[in-house]
Structure formats: structure tokens, C-alpha cells
């Protein structure tokens, strides 16, 4: 053990911390200064407010769905209404919450700072991205208000093209616009990472948070345009009546499936990779240790992105793809599972020989590790061809993707929000209440979704609003869990808002974390850095941090 390896946690004395005088928040005043900003941090906050708004709308739909499913009969609402509920839940949660969640909020806020840059490469495009988000969101809400859409978030043809008279084209247009919001965010990130790293910040000195956003951005940029053209074709088929997906006119409904899933599978990696980046940062900080196997984790992120492009037909195993095709995609699905396993073990081993504390972000990270393992392993169930035959299109699938998306991604998002809340706002959130919320969420989540695995194996199909009575007990358990989960999500909304005025002042590095973002004030100034830093240390270099904190005078403001 070397003399400089001591990484004793010396949190600065919070009681003496004061808020800095000039921050990105009070730099300019007035609504217009926010609405026309180019500052990536302000845009991140705008996004944060926006996605929270849509999250609760999507969550309300989820609540209604679970309420209906308390009883076997379809007694709470008409069939058509229920179909609209789950369709809107899916569309809002996927496109208006999960896809932008970490990248547009935490990614936007932190990436330039982590790289040592003053802003993203294209601030105006960043703002455009947010406007497109709202335009798409308004169009989707428009579809809702006009009467809803009931295609499911998957827009399956020929149902969506010829057999529904709901607002399919409106919803598809909304999603199209949201796609471009996503593309521009990804494009911005890629250019920033390639061209705007500070001197000395080599690729392998970047935080893993940046690596995962890089991988996710590749997916956003390459995958989303395919969704755009697919939805355009659906809209044209509805409006003009041509038969590109209609077998009676020579078209092929499977063509739609291929085109749709070519984007929508990488989309799930767009959703999860940024969350994985958050977990790397959180586990490292609260173990006081560099991430075990940095290179492995970095390459795994890129591997997931690359492999993720080649597995789309595992959503179509029983849909008439050839046997040969099914074999190839099943094999590739098994291969894409391996990098996630690698990452999970690397995170676990990051804790070995560390010095671990259990603040709220770390609790969410633990939750992520357990739930993502379950979610990921159930993905292996589904990638096994013969097993998929029985499990596909049932509640097993619903449980699987909620485990990875909600148990995984949403927990990672909350971990990140709590972790970087002091940096973004200069305030600490209340620790005991947040721990309570984390535990509540974890319990509620398991109660909601574990029974759904059982329901799936029993055969209960998804998107059913009435079901045979023998499935009721498990559905009731699931709804009970959903109530608890709802409470778990309401709490952060309340106490985080409270903390803006009444939270303890954070100081610039309340967690004593490495990373350039923690070396500047909280909240940061608009230009992030007074002078561009020159980086001469590795990522997660706690020895460097210790050396530095020993030397500096800790003042804030």
C-alpha cells in the first residue's frame, strides 16, 4: 500500500458552504433567456422539467392500466379505451421519457464539463433538439386529446394502416419529430466527444459516463432515421392507400416488422446505455475506487451498441422468419448479452477493497444491479428460440422489459439525478427521505413486476384488458405493487422541489468525487471553466483527488 493511496473521505464542512454568487442559473434573468439559451446546462434543466411532466402523464396511464387489471372483466373502461391507454403509456414512456431521459438531462448537463469543454459542439442544435421534443410531445398529446391512438407503441401493420380509424398519423408524426430530437442530441454528443476534449483528455481518460453516451449516440444517429422512414411509410399507406405493407396489394407486412425493429431494438440500448454510464460513476464514487476494468467497461459499451444492430429479428422469431434467420439472430442475441454481464461483474468488483458508503445514489445503484441482472437474464430466456415460442407476447415480455427499463434504467436515472443534484442546483436533497423513497421504489417495483413473470409463463397474453379469472391473484399483487411504486416516484418529485429552496448548500464536491464536474463550483458558471483545464490524470483517479484536496483551500463562490 503506497503512501498516497489513502482515500479517506473528508467531506467539506457543509455548514460553511455558501452558494456561489454567479452561476448559470442567475447569470441571466427572465423566461426568454431560458427559452433562447444556448447553455447546455440550462437546456438540460429545461429537459428535466419536460420529461418529468411526460413521465407523470405516462405514469398516470400505467396507473389506470393496473387499476383495470385488478378484475378479470373489462369493467373499468371500454376495450377501445384500454387499448388507447396502453398505447399512449408505451409511446409516452419510450419516446418522451426513456429515450431522452439520461442523455438529454444528465448527458447534456455533464458531458461538456466532464470533457473539459465550455459547451456542446452545437448549442443551437441542442436548443432545437429541445424544441423538437416539445413539438413532438405536443403532437403526441394532440393525438391523445383528439381521441387517442390504439395501435400499441409498435404500430403493427396492417392493423395500424388499414384497420383502425384512430389518430395513427398524428401519433406517428409526433414520434417522427421526437426521433429528430433524438438524432440531433446524439449528433451533438458525437461531435463534442470527438472534437472538444480538453488537452490531455485522451479517449481512455474519459469518464465511463461519456463512453456510454458515445455508444448510445451512435445508436441514436444510425438507428432513428430508419424509424422515421418506417413511420413515413405507414402514414403514406394510411393516407394514400398504397399497399407497401398490405398483402392484398402485393406488399409484405413483415417488411414493416423488419424496418420497425431495426430501430426499436437498438432503441432499447439507447435507453439503457446512458443509465449504465451513471452506474459506473455512482459505484466508483461511493466505493472511493476507480471502476474495475475501465477498458473492459468502455469496450463493452461500444460492443453493446454494435451488436445491438444485429439482433432485431429476435422480436420476430414466431412471425415467419426462416429457420436459418432465427438461428442467426438467436446466436447474436446470446452474444449481445455477454458485454452486459461483463459490466455487471466489473461494477460489483469495483466495490472490492473500496470504502463503501450507502448514500441514496448508491442505494439506487444496488437496486439497478439486482434488477438489471434479473431483467437481463430473462432476456436470455427470450433469446432461446424454443423458450421464446412459449414466452413471447405474454406478460413475461412485459415483465422483462419493465425490469430492464424501469428496474434498470429508471433506477439509474434516479441515481444520477440524486448524485448530480448538488452539482446542478447547489443544494443537497434530504438524505433520509430519499433513502426511504429508494427502498419504497425497490419494494414496489418487485411487487409489481415479479408476479408478471409468473403470469407470463402461465400464458396470460399482453395487451389484454380482460383475462381468465385464474390470473386475478397475481394481477392484484401487481397492482398493489404499482401503488407502492407510485408513492416511491412521487416522493422525489416532492422533496427535490423542496430542496431547491430549503436543501442544505452542497459546496462544489459534496461526495469528494473525481471527475472534472466536481472540481468546479456548484452550480457551475455558464462557461463551466474559467480556463480550459489540462488533464494529466486518469479517470477515477482518487490519488490525484486526494493530492489536490490536500493542497487547495476549499472555498466556494
Amino acid at each position: 500500500m503506497s503512501a498516497t493511496s489513502s482515500t479517506i473521505l473528508n467531506l467539506p464542512d457543509q455548514r460553511t458552504a455558501t452558494l456561489p454568487k454567479r452561476t448559470y442559473i442567475n447569470n441571466e434573468d427572465g423566461l426568454l433567456s431560458w427559452l433562447f439559451t444556448g447553455d447546455h446546462k440550462r437546456i438540460a434543466i429545461l429537459y428535466l422539467i419536460s420529461i418529468t411532466f411526460f413521465f407523470f402523464i405516462g405514469g398516470a396511464f400505467a396507473g389506470l392500466i393496473r387499476l383495470e387489471l385488478l378484475t378479470p372483466q373489462g369493467d373499468l373502461m371500454a376495450s377501445d379505451t384500454y387499448n388507447k391507454m396502453f398505447s399512449m403509456h408505451g409511446i409516452i414512456m419510450v419516446f418522451l421519457f426513456l429515450v431522452p431521459s439520461v442523455p438529454a438531462t444528465l448527458g447534456n448537463f455533464l458531458m461538456p464539463i466532464m470533457l473539459g469543454a465550455k459547451d456542446l459542439a452545437f448549442p443551437k442544435i441542442n436548443l432545437l433538439s429541445w424544441y423538437l421534443y416539445w413539438l413532438g410531445g405536443i403532437v403526441v398529446l394532440g393525438a391523445l386529446v383528439l381521441g387517442g391512438v390504439d395501435t400499441g407503441w409498435t404500430f403493427t401493420t396492417p392493423l395500424s394502416t388499414h384497420y383502425l380509424n384512430t389518430h395513427v398519423v398524428t401519433a406517428a408524426t409526433g414520434v417522427f419529430i421526437l426521433g429528430f430530437s433524438s438524432i440531433f442530441t446524439g449528433l451533438n454528443f458525437i461531435v463534442t466527444i470527438h472534437r472538444m476534449r480538453a488537452p490531455g483528455m485522451t479517449w481512455f481518460r474519459m469518464p465511463l459516463f461519456v463512453w456510454s453516451h458515445y455508444a448510445a449516440s451512435i445508436l441514436m444517429v444510425l438507428g432513428t432515421p430508419v424509424l422515421a422512414i418506417t413511420l413515413t411509410l405507414v402514414a403514406l399507406e394510411r393516407l394514400v392507400g398504397i399497399g407497401v405493407f398490405d398483402p392484398t396489394k402485393g406488399g409484405d407486412p413483415l417488411l414493416f416488422q423488419h424496418l420497425f425493429w431495426f430501430y426499436s431494438h437498438p432503441a432499447v440500448y439507447i435507453m439503457i446505455l446512458p443509465g449504465m454510464g451513471v452506474i459506473s460513476e455512482v459505484i466508483s464514487t461511493f466505493s472511493r475506487k476507480r471502476v474495475f476494468g475501465y477498458t473492459a467497461v468502455a469496450f463493452s459499451s461500444v460492443a453493446i451498441a454494435l451488436f445491438g444492430f444485429f439482433v432485431w429479428a429476435h422480436h420476430m422469431f414466431i412471425m415467419g422468419v426462416s429457420n436459418y434467420s432465427a438461428l442467426v439472430f438467436s446466436l447474436l442475441t446470446m452474444l449481445v448479452a455477454v458485454p452486459s454481464a461483463i459490466k455487471t461483474f466489473n461494477w460489483a468488483f469495483t466495490m472490492q477493497k473500496g470504502s463503501i458508503t450507502f448514500e441514496t445514489p448508491m442505494l439506487y445503484a444496488f437496486g439497478f444491479l439486482g434488477l438489471f441482472t434479473i431483467g437481463g437474464m430473462t432476456g436470455v430466456f427470450l433469446g432461446a428460440l424454443g423458450m421464446d415460442i412459449h414466452l413471447t407476447e405474454t406478460y413475461f415480455i412485459v415483465a422483462h422489459f419493465h425490469f430492464v427499463m424501469v428496474g434498470g434504467m429508471l433506477m439509474a436515472f434516479l441515481a444520477g439525478i440524486h448524485f448530480w443534484w448538488p452539482k446542478m442546483t447547489g443544494r443537497m436533497y434530504p438524505e433520509s427521505l430519499s433513502k426511504l423513497a429508494a427502498v419504497t421504489t425497490f419494494i414496489g417495483f418487485n411487487l409489481t413486476f415479479l408476479p408478471q413473470f409468473i403470469l407470463g409463463y402461465l400464458g396470460m397474453p399482453r395487451r389484454y384488458h380482460a383475462y381468465p379469472p385464474e390470473f386475478q391473484v397475481l394481477n392484484v399483487l401487481s397492482t398493489a405493487g404499482a401503488t407502492v411504486l407510485g408513492v416511491g416516484y412521487m416522493l422525489p418529485l416532492l422533496y427535490l422541489a423542496w430542496s431547491l429552496k430549503y436543501g442544505a448548500i452542497a459546496g462544489n464536491n459534496p461526495w469528494q468525487a473525481t471527475g472534472l464536474e466536481w472540481q468546479i463550483q456548484s452550480p457551475p458558471i455558464t462557461e463551466n471553466f474559467i480556463e480550459i483545464p489540462i488533464v494529466d490524470h486518469e479517470a477515477y483517479d482518487y490519488e490525484w483527488l486526494e493530492h489536490k484536496t490536500a493542497q487547495e483551500v476549499t472555498t466556494v463562490g
Partner: protein, 347 residues
């Protein structure tokens, strides 16, 4: 199954009795469950392992007990280990899953065939003997049954969870699934592909009967005309007999005995004449012209429903000679009024 059958039965029955596990009612079900239990096992083991690591490290290296963190470089050995072991496990799962898949989707050659037409929002089962069921399916136990399925409108998916079989019912093409039911009883049929308003109502019941009961049922439930007989009627009324009369100078190829044979097409390729081929050649004849014949067959796209196509396919499958074809031709070319059969509605 390599674990004791007693243990297996106990496990499955106990879980089933607790409403946590479906019944195993087909020959393939135990195979599917075996893979499932294996997957559950590796998931539980993996989760336990990860959980032990996390909790173990969290307790052993918590700040109070381990105030100084030791920066570890990493370990290629560990990386290799946790790359190779998961990969190996996943590849085992891949092979097992692929084998199971081929078992589930490759019917034995002696399977009896039943047609399923899915439409919003019901299942129609058409037995070759002329039994028609809606949202119900009667099958004999102990015999392989193949279902040839097609929808009338949108995607549906035919699922019998207790048999562990499911297949998408795809617009524009036949898809098949087979099973061999082992236990008499009734089991759910679900539509598992979202298909619109009453997707949740597309629930049916498959009734597995002992061979004797099944015989009785076929006799009681027949509509009087088999599918092939309906097809024969259609064949004449749609004018197919005019070109496919079976005579030497006929404009269309002879269809007697064509099912199951290998056909040479005008574009040089060879095809096996199966259900899908017959259906396609009625709807898209220009891509299925037998060598030596002119591409003059009109298309019947939009003029026959899927039920009608099934009737025609069944008829052609059963056609051994052209005797009756030529009979109907003579009848239609005569100027006598055709006798009407009351109550027969053209499908």
C-alpha cells in the same frame, strides 16, 4: 429429463396446483419446461452470485470497516472468467433453445391437419371432415395435430399455453404449428398478438378428447359437407374447371395428384406443391406458371375469402382423378337449369 420423474411430477403438479404454473398437456411441454427450469436455475444462481458479491463487498468493505480504499488495477483473468463463463452458459442455452425450437415447429409426417382462420375477433377452426368451430377446437389425444393458420385481416397469434405452442398468424401466408395432446381436458386458446378492439375477447378453448370421444364428436358435429366438397363446389362455380379440366388439350395443368409433387415452372425453378403454393398460385398466378403453359390464368385476389381458399386447397389436395371435374364441366356447359340445393351458401 435427467432428474427423477417423481421429483419432476411433484414440482410441476405442486406449482400447477398453486396456480403458479401451467399444466403440461402436450408431448412437447416437458421439454419446454426443462429448458425453463434450467434458465431459472442459472438466473437464480447468477443473481445469487452477483448478490453475494455486492452484499459481501458492501459489508466487508464498508467505510466503517475499511476506511482506506485500495486502488485496484483490474484483472485480465477475472475479465476472461466472467466473459467466458456467461458466454458458455448462453451458448448452451442457444443450442438447447434451437433444438427445442425445431422440435416445436417440425411436425411429424403423419400429423392430421386442421385449418384455423383468425379474424377480428374470433378463431374459426375448419376440420377437413366438415366440422366448423368458432373459438373452439376439438382434438384427439395422442395424435399429432397440425394447424394450418391464416388470418382474414390483421396479425393474430394462436397460442395454447398448456401445450407450450404458439405461432403468429400472418396476413397473406399460411403458418403452421403442431402438437400432440396428452391429457383429456379443456385448455385456453389465446390470441396473443394485439389485433384491435376485442383482442382480449379472442379467447377460445381446445378440448382434448379420447380417441373414441373424438370419433363421436366428429360424427355429431359435421356440417354434412367436408371442406373438399365445398372446394369442389367452388372449383366449378368459379370456373376453374374450364381450364383445369384435366383433358390433354386443356389450357391449364392437370391438378389431379399435383399436391405433394415437384413442379417445374416456366421460369426454370422447381417447387414443391404444398398448401402455400396452391394458395399463392390462385392469388398470384403469374409467378407460378407451370412449364409448358401460357400465363393466362386470372387472379382471384379479392374474390375469394381465406375460408374459400382453404376449401379449394383441400379439394385440390384430395383430387386423385379428374372424373368429377369433367362431370361438372359437362353440367355447366349444358343448357339445363342446374338443380338448386336449398340452404347452401357459397363461402
Amino acid at each position: 429429463m435427467h432428474i427423477s420423474p417423481v421429483l419432476w411430477q411433484f414440482l410441476v403438479k405442486w406449482l400447477n396446483a398453486s396456480a403458479l404454473f401451467p399444466r403440461e398437456a402436450s408431448t412437447i411441454a416437458p421439454y419446454a419446461d426443462a429448458l425453463y427450469f434450467f434458465l431459472l436455475l442459472i438466473t437464480v444462481v447468477g443473481l445469487t452470485f452477483v448478490g453475494c458479491l455486492i452484499f459481501g463487498f458492501a459489508i466487508r468493505y464498508r467505510k466503517e470497516k475499511h476506511p482506506i480504499a485500495i486502488q485496484v488495477e483490474g484483472s485480465t483473468l477475472l475479465e476472461a472468467t466472467w466473459t467466458i463463463i456467461p458466454l458458455a452458459l448462453f451458448l448452451i442455452v442457444f443450442v438447447w433453445g434451437a433444438l427445442l425450437y425445431f422440435r416445436i415447429y417440425n411436425p411429424p409426417t403423419n400429423a392430421m391437419n386442421i385449418y384455423i382462420v383468425g379474424k377480428q375477433w374470433m378463431w374459426k377452426a375448419e376440420h377437413p371432415g366438415g366440422q366448423h368451430e368458432i373459438n373452439a377446437l376439438h382434438v384427439p389425444m395422442g395424435r399429432p395435430v397440425q394447424l394450418t393458420m391464416i388470418p382474414q385481416d390483421v396479425f393474430h397469434s394462436f397460442s395454447i399455453p398448456d401445450f407450450r405452442v404458439k405461432r403468429e398468424v400472418i396476413p397473406g401466408r399460411y403458418s403452421t404449428v403442431w402438437f400432440n395432446a396428452t391429457t383429456p381436458g379443456t385448455y385456453h386458446i389465446f390470441c396473443t398478438q394485439y389485433c384491435g378492439t376485442n383482442h382480449s375477447a379472442m379467447i377460445g378453448e381446445v378440448t382434448v378428447l379420447s380417441p373414441d370421444d373424438y370419433e363421436k364428436w366428429t360424427q355429431q358435429s359435421t356440417s354434412g359437407t367436408s371442406l373438399a366438397q365445398n372446394g369442389e363446389r367452388l372449383f366449378a362455380s368459379m370456373g376453374c374447371n374450364a381450364c383445369h379440366s384435366g383433358s390433354a388439350a386443356a389450357r391449364g395443368p392437370n391438378l389431379a395428384g399435383v399436391y405433394g409433387s415437384k413442379l417445374q415452372l416456366t421460369n426454370g425453378s422447381q417447387v414443391l406443391v404444398n398448401d402455400a403454393y396452391l394458395r399463392d398460385s390462385i392469388l398470384n398466378p403469374s409467378q407460378h406458371i407451370t412449364a409448358g403453359y401460357a400465363p393466362i390464368m386470372p387472379t382471384y385476389q379479392g374474390q375469394i375469402s381465406e375460408d374459400g381458399l382453404i376449401d379449394l386447397v383441400e379439394y385440390i389436395k384430395s383430387m386423385q382423378s379428374n372424373y368429377r371435374v369433367q362431370q361438372t364441366l359437362t353440367t355447366s356447359e349444358s343448357n339445363q337449369a342446374a338443380p338448386t340445393t336449398p340452404g347452401v351458401v357459397k363461402p
